[in-house]
Symmetry: C2
Subunit: 332 residues, 2 copies
């Protein structure tokens, strides 16, 4: 009998997807960042995201950060489709001896993240928990301008592009776990910014063919884009921009910054596939609109499948909930 540890998170999701019935008003079902649903004449985007103490966040995490991050990870799924988040529901389970003031601080952080993205809290559920704090955040959004981006759609020759700097959240977690002083990285870990406006702008550009948010690590999430398009993607390591703070931290603590940048998730930056010929124009226009970096970091091709870094195959570079070591924390 196989266990979840044997088949892994993606094996389980594939099995559930096979069991679920299809329906004409389900445009995208299980398997993408959001469900894409036809609701009368409009298109609804819906996503759920679990945040569990000891799995997604370390015990001792400030309650505002727990709330912010659990909301950000869910809102980022709407951003990854180019949607506008509207409504959020939160299911919260916690021990009955938990202080009310502590829970209010969780909601403070959560509501701050919602306000920044223009979403409102409209409901949820509450329960006693047998072990620590647990949140499930459901975000409901809407497609803007009639177009949303899924993981599927990359074409051979398309450029793989990322927003922002990667690896900061993973390095922040590393600092927390090792007792290192690194406030900017810890902040990146605690309060990642979902790229909601950027996602909507990108979905409005037809030269952008597919998109995902980086929650499991660039290597793995680029692999999801490649797999969905039945393509391969080659990441050029040197083209992934290195944040100066991450560079400094890595040097002081003798870490490989590229391990954080390629393997670390939860920065909630966007990764997308852009038409080769239009790439320069799209990036120049993006830079005029937004004040965050945007970088070509790879190329899609149809000669092989999977992910390579500088031409070398990569077997596994991201997070799997059921295959990961029991003591790992802080991942999606």
């Amino acid at each position: 009998m196989s266990t979840l540890h044997d088949v892994g998170e993606f094996g389980l999701i594939a099995r559930i997807a096979k069991m679920a019935a299809s329906a004409p008003h389900v445009i995208e079902g299980i398997g993408d960042d959001c469900a894409v649903l036809r609701f009368n004449t409009h298109t609804l985007l819906v996503s759920c995201d679990l945040s569990i103490e000891g799995v997604h966040f370390l015990p001792g995490t400030p309650p505002e950060a727990i709330g912010w991050k659990s909301a950000a990870s869910s809102l980022s799924d709407i951003a990854a489709m180019g949607g506008a988040p509207s409504f959020v529901l939160v299911s919260l389970a916690c021990p009955p001896d938990c202080e009310v003031a502590y829970i209010e601080r969780v909601y403070d952080g959560l509501l701050d993240a919602l306000a920044q993205s223009g979403a409102v809290l409209v409901g949820g559920d509450t329960s006693r928990s047998p072990a620590g704090l647990m949140l499930d955040v459901t975000s409901i959004g809407e497609v803007v301008g009639g177009r949303c981006l899924t993981r599927k759609g990359a074409r051979p020759g398309d450029r793989l592009v990322t927003t922002g700097h990667l690896g900061l959240s993973a390095a922040g977690l590393h600092a927390l776990e090792n007792g290192h002083e690194a406030p900017a990285l810890v902040h990146a870990h605690y309060e990642p910014t979902p790229r909601v406006s950027e996602g909507q702008w990108l979905a409005s550009r037809t030269e952008v063919h597919a998109m995902i948010d980086i929650s499991d690590g660039l290597a793995q999430d680029a692999g999801h884009l490649a797999d969905a398009g039945r393509l391969g993607v080659d990441i050029a390591r040197a083209s992934v921009p290195l944040d100066p703070g991450l560079a400094a931290y890595s040097e002081v603590h003798a870490c490989d910054p590229y391990a954080f940048m390629l393997g670390g998730g939860e920065d909630y930056e966007l990764a997308f596939a852009v038409d080769e010929a239009a790439c320069d124009d799209v990036l120049a226009a993006f830079r005029r609109e937004f004040h965050i970096p945007v970088s070509v970091v790879g190329v899609f091709n149809d000669t092989w499948h999977g992910v390579r870094v500088d031409g070398e195959p990569l077997s596994s570079g991201g997070f799997d909930h059921f295959k990961q070591d029991e003591t790992t924390t802080g991942n999606p």
Copy 2:
């Protein structure tokens, strides 16, 4: 510093509701069975429901029953507004050594409940859990015929009416906890039927003023209807129909069946307020349409507040997640 145990589930919900911003497209926010949301020209109903091992279901519960019941409790919230459930998302957390076949059986039960209500599974999240199985089921539905029923709207003189028989689920749990043989009651506990068609029919009758599903027990849920309308409600104990199987079980095991019927939740029957003058007509029409009992069990008034049973005040008669004893299980 007060804890969740001190303020209780409803105290926590009231605090969260106060913190959440209001918005013009939120028709009903935190506090009712569903959020009621204006989505362009249509009205969306959304609800989340947690099901946690050791809190909502006993360890050893058949996996199909875990799936069915967690879906039923969420779908019932849509039924309670008179809506039609369309889409369901499931967040699942479980230990990595869990067998895949076991999880597939959970989804079998869940998908059966969805199929019965006309809803489809469209997404969710999966994660490792630190302690046992945990599901959060999000149901998205639509208002049918332009009208949905909230908890608010009961008027003085309105009759309190319930569908079906109550207390069967609570007696089934009692049988399981005490090792008694009672297959029909255990079935009622494991596979309650959300009253989706009945709810839609009731919402189409303007003589029905307010509605709720009975998840926390008749006394408590009737109290929610009374509170929302700033009224009192007097339940006539003898008018609550006693299921023959429950009567027999209670006699054999020396239990008070009315404790199950008034205090036990999770039957997911409907309780609603009907105009006094129209009550006979509405009930007669309901009986022609559906083959389940429907019974006048109380009267709303504006002379006092809260819940009384045969004129006697009732201080507390339902389930509170944070006030309940740690060992209690099987409740919402």
